[in-house]
């Protein structure tokens, strides 16, 4: 039995857990991160699944990583390098394509040839979205108040929220209200008419959700993805050198340099509770580790229902967590390629290979993919978001060869009959066929592949339901309701036990915000 006494134990070495550890270590606390797998990163991981080919296995792009975290933890010094994705290329069924390039004028001309009206609208749309994203951004760092409590602290929190709302212009306030409730399709169709443009833009509204672009409230997810920034450039998406695993490695390196300990192959079984207080954890192998506080960066279902006996939690919370929606709807197909995919719409190697390639020819295409998932099937014609990391970072693959990361929707966790090897294979096939329609050489280019279903996401990273955000970004699971009402500020009913992952405010994406805020709350509580 290990009797080391730490100030804090972090369950889970994903990016939020690592951020929490780094902040605590930075404040002089003795911290240990317990990671179940043999490597850190969680879903922010790069693995050499096929020798020589590094797959940015689950997540693949970054934009929402908080600038203050990058600064505070000196991540660039620890190897963090984010390279902007300069373009999005959408091939069309008629052999044409539409693209958004790095150059504003080039993009405008590109849209103009499809629709002069859309070219006009495009600039104003970007401005409107940027304004709304700026307006709501402070929410990411606000501690959600509990509206049901009359406690002065919460009333003050509500007041602050009210003052924040009052600081936004009337026009923007209504804009925000609209965007939080509209469907991505309705919102976009008020601005644009070109189908592949609509399809591509609407895709941001449904990433990681179990909703379609015509589902109400998906316009919010669109805004959520718009809030990112790289080097101060608003809304730019980027690729991290070394894949998203490079981000985890940088944070891990920073945490270690600040004095945090990281242990892999350490699977936690339970939180040890004495007199209503968390005093440590018990590992699956029987070891016990003591600490003043425990921060769980894994999903809310594990955090509340696995690691803690139900007798320590109020019935309401247990009920809420059992009802917490965490349906995975996405999969990944990672490919090792012998040659670049050659798109008939724009043949040859070119700028398009440095950016994102989106199989999203129209809103209805994505909506039909969603319909399949609703009824327990993976999409016959899936939405695919593709990047080719090796073009931007040649270290990801052997010379002349490439790795291709394909994010796919929809593939429901609860597929009819359950996921098995045959279904996984069929799912992978469907994705390759979807790409083949636009790049016929893809099949012969494939040297090796890794197909990941939501069930695989769950079994590899342990995220319940395989939902990439540790819980869907639904209106009733956000802000003061995430992961549950009354428990939306990182504390739990067990003293000294905190939730620090994407299942807490402000939600999922590679942000690091939950980890940082949970660490700050724990320190405020005096660990």
């Amino acid at each position: 039995m290990t009797a080391n006494k730490y100030d804090a134990i972090i369950i889970g070495g994903g990016h939020n857990g690592l951020v929490a550890a780094a902040y605590l270590a930075r404040a002089g606390k003795r911290v240990v991160v317990l990671e179940r797998r043999h490597i850190i990163g969680g879903a922010t991981v790069t693995e050499e699944i096929i020798p020589g080919f590094k797959f940015t296995e689950f997540s693949y792009v970054v934009s929402l990583l908080r600038p203050e975290i990058i600064r505070d933890l000196k991540l660039p010094q620890h190897g963090l390098k984010i390279l902007p994705l300069p373009s999005t290329f959408t091939p069309m069924d008629n052999g044409d394509y539409i693209a958004a390039w790095d150059d504003h004028d080039m993009t405008r001309r590109e849209i103009y040839r499809h629709s002069p009206k859309d070219a006009e609208a495009s600039d104003e749309y970007s401005r409107a979205m940027a304004r709304l994203a700026k307006a709501i951004k402070p929410i990411l760092s606000i501690l959600p108040p509990d509206p049901t409590s009359f406690h002065p602290k919460d009333l003050f929190g509500l007041l602050k929220l009210g003052r924040f709302a009052a600081s936004i212009s009337e026009k923007d306030l209504y804009g925000l209200a609209k965007i939080m409730t509209q469907s991505a399709a309705d919102m976009l169709e008020e601005w644009f008419e070109t189908e592949p443009l609509l399809g591509t833009k609407s895709a941001s509204g449904i990433i990681g959700t179990f909703l379609g672009p015509r589902s109400p409230s998906t316009a919010y997810v669109l805004l959520h993805h718009y809030m990112g920034e790289i080097d101060g450039a608003f809304r730019a998406w980027g690729f991290a050198k070394g894949g998203t695993g490079g981000i985890a490695e940088a944070i891990g390196s920073s945490a270690r340099s600040l004095g945090a300990e990281i242990r892999c192959n350490s699977s936690v079984k339970q939180v040890i509770i004495k007199n209503g207080r968390a005093v440590g954890v018990a590992l699956e192998n029987g070891d016990e580790i003591r600490a003043k506080a425990v921060l769980s960066s894994v999903d809310p279902i594990l955090t509340f229902l696995k690691f803690v006996e139900s007798k320590y939690l109020p019935a309401d919370l247990i009920h809420s967590i059992k009802k917490y929606r965490t349906r995975g709807s996405s999969g990944k197909v990672n490919l090792a390629l012998g040659e670049l995919p050659n798109f008939t719409a724009l043949p040859g190697e070119g700028p398009l290979h440095r950016g994102a390639i989106s199989i999203s020819p129209s809103i209805d295409y994505i909506e039909r993919a969603y319909d399949d998932a609703k009824y327990g099937r993976f999409a016959k014609e899936p939405f695919v978001d593709i990047i080719i990391p090796s073009v931007i970072d040649p270290d990801m693959a052997p010379p002349g060869k490439h790795v291709m990361s394909c994010f796919v929707q929809y593939a429901p966790y609860d597929i009819e009959g359950g996921w098995d090897d045959a279904k996984r294979e069929a799912f992978g096939e469907t994705v390759i066929s979807a790409i083949e329609r636009y790049a016929p050489n893809i099949r012969r280019a494939i040297i090796g592949k890794q197909v990941i279903t939501p069930k695989d996401i769950e079994s590899i990273t342990n995220i319940t339901g395989g939902n990439i955000f540790h819980g869907e970004l639904l209106l009733h699971q956000l802000f003061f309701m995430r992961p549950a009402t009354k428990w939306a500020s990182f504390r739990t009913p067990v003293d000294g036990y905190y939730i620090a992952g994407s299942g807490a405010h402000p939600g999922g994406g590679i942000m690091g915000a939950p980890g940082k805020m949970a660490a700050e709350i724990a320190m405020k509580d005096g660990i």
């Binding site: 209504y174 209200a177 409730t181 509209q182 309705d186 109400p216 409230s217 009802k323 639904l474 009733h476």
Partner: protein, 501 residues
């Protein structure tokens, strides 16, 4: 020149309610109705096919304070039946789920599907009583134009609503706050485990709307419909829903108000930004100090006022209002041997069934396996059909009427084998009919879908939810404003309060 204090466009139930309140105050008012009968959607009509039916709504009741204030019982408003009829969810094996108004009887029926759900039923009913209270209070609250121009009484109204909610207790308050953006499926999933019980209740979330049970905001519409009906089943009106409109008409006339039918308003006359009166289709000009339009916002602003008289951004927002009605009605005159029991009968066997019916609407086709709600009155069977989208992708309603009728009858006939042979004549109302006959843009019964982004302070458009318009002395008072939707008359009552003396 004895100018009218107020002209009300549209003798629907909201227009009539507003007229009655104003006339009772001694105002000189005139109601102008395009059709030859008053009542709008709240009518019981005789069809040339030889029978009469509640054309669009199978039941409903005005807010109790309206009935009281306008003394409507003395004007012929029938008392609603003491006991409500049951809500029946049809099952393939004919062992239907019968949700009787008596909680004990309902629980007995639920028990056959899930003992746990039967046990939760009474608590669920208590909770829905709370949500009903909240919805009714919210609909009685004028939604101010936040955060500017917040006057004292509007602020007080909001504060009262907030306090009302908070006093329900933290638990129920959060259930309601969370329940509003939820899907109807999630809403019922919080309480029940049986898909059959869930689907039956969830169907209230989609009834009358172009929304799916798996769409966000149908938690709110579920609460809304429950509040308007006072429960699951319709509160039928003895003699037909038209009796409500008749009583309102009598009240208006008795208080000294004028009502003119066959008087279509062609334009609202505007001088710079002030409303001066109306122009009828026959060329007659009628001046007035104030005008209330109870027609839908799109018709009111884009047709009657005209975009040239309105700020460009206001026009853009109005054009963006989503109407897209998808309700059709099929009324059948039978020989009485149809076999359909009394009550509100629904075809909502599972959540997936309801969702699939809605999918058709997304792609602008008619649901081949529709959601139906059926009521009977004597020998008349009235079928409410969803989804029948106004804008069809590869056809038009002129060509699809027969298809709609067949679908409705055949689908219902699967559960009631005697139905087809019992039919003597029928009358169908497609979304196009709803637009042309009843003046509903895109056939939308709600004057604008009651979606999350078109409700409360965003209804009809953000910033204009307090019945006022950019035109001085012109007010909007129909279902398209906050408080509207359903036969409550709330919008009409509210707009009468808002008019500056």
């Amino acid at each position: 020149m004895n100018t009218y204090d107020c002209i009300i466009i549209g003798a629907g139930h909201n227009g009539l309610t507003a007229a009655a309140y104003l006339a009772k105050q001694g105002k000189k008012i005139l109601v102008l109705e395009r059709r030859n009968i008053a009542g709008g959607q709240v009518v019981t009509e005789s069809f040339e096919e030889g029978f009469q039916a509640d054309s669009l709504h199978a039941g409903g009741s005005l807010c109790s304070d309206i009935v009281r204030d306008l003394k409507l019982t003395s004007f012929g408003l029938p008392a609603t039946a003491a006991t409500k009829l049951p809500f029946v969810s049809l099952q393939g094996d004919s062992h239907h789920l019968i949700l009787d108004a008596d909680p004990a009887k309902a629980a007995e029926s639920i028990k056959r599907f899930s003992a746990n759900d039967a046990a939760r039923w009474p608590e669920f009913l208590s909770f829905m009583k709370q949500t009903t209270r909240f919805i009714r209070t919210a609909n009685a609250t004028i939604m101010p134009r936040l955060p500017v121009d917040l006057n004292f009484s509007e602020g007080m109204g909001l504060a009262k609503l907030g306090l009302d909610l908070r006093l329900m207790g933290g638990r129920d308050m959060m259930r309601i706050v969370r329940g509003m953006p939820m899907t109807a499926s999630e809403f019922v999933d919080e309480w029940f485990e049986s898909d059959i019980v869930k689907a039956a209740v969830a169907s209230l979330g989609i009834h009358g709307f172009t929304l799916g049970g798996m769409g966000a905001g149908t938690g709110f519409t579920l609460m809304h419909n429950w509040a308007n009906r006072g429960g699951l089943s319709h509160a039928a009106v003895p003699g037909g829903v038209g009796k409500i409109s008749e009583a309102l008409v009598n009240a208006v006339k008795s208080f000294g108000g004028e009502i003119r039918t066959n008087a279509e308003v062609k334009a609202i006359q505007v001088e710079i930004t002030t409303c001066k009166g109306v122009l009828l289709s026959n060329g007659e000009e009628i001046p007035a100090k104030n005008v209330i339009s109870s027609a839908d916002p799109k018709h009111t602003f884009l047709s009657l006022v005209g975009p040239m008289n309105l700020p460009p951004e206001f026009v853009w927002h109005t054009q963006s209002i989503k109407m897209r009605g998808s309700v059709a009605k099929v009324h059948l005159l039978t020989d009485g041997k149809h076999g359909i029991p009394e009550g509100t009968i629904v075809l909502a066997p599972s959540l997936k069934y309801l969702e699939k019916a809605y999918d058709a609407a997304k792609y602008h086709t008619i649901s081949e396996k529709p959601y139906l709600e059926v009521t009977t009155s004597g020998n008349v069977v009235s079928i409410h059909f969803q989804f029948a989208p106004y804008a069809l992708k590869s056809s038009s309603w002129d060509n699809e009427r027969k298809h709609l009728e067949d679908l409705a009858i055949n689908t219902l006939g699967e559960h009631f084998p005697n139905l087809k042979s019992a039919i003597k004549s029928l009358k169908s109302l497609t979304p196009k009919d709803l637009e042309e006959v009843y003046g509903l843009t895109e056939g939308d019964l709600n004057h604008g879908q009651l979606m999350l982004d078109q409700f409360m302070f965003m209804r009809p458009i953000p910033g204009w939810s307090n019945h006022r318009t950019p035109i001085d002395n012109l007010y909007l008072g129909g279902s398209g404003v906050h408080g509207g939707g359903g036969i409550s008359g709330a919008s009409g009552r509210n707009v009468a309060k808002v008019i500056d003396k």
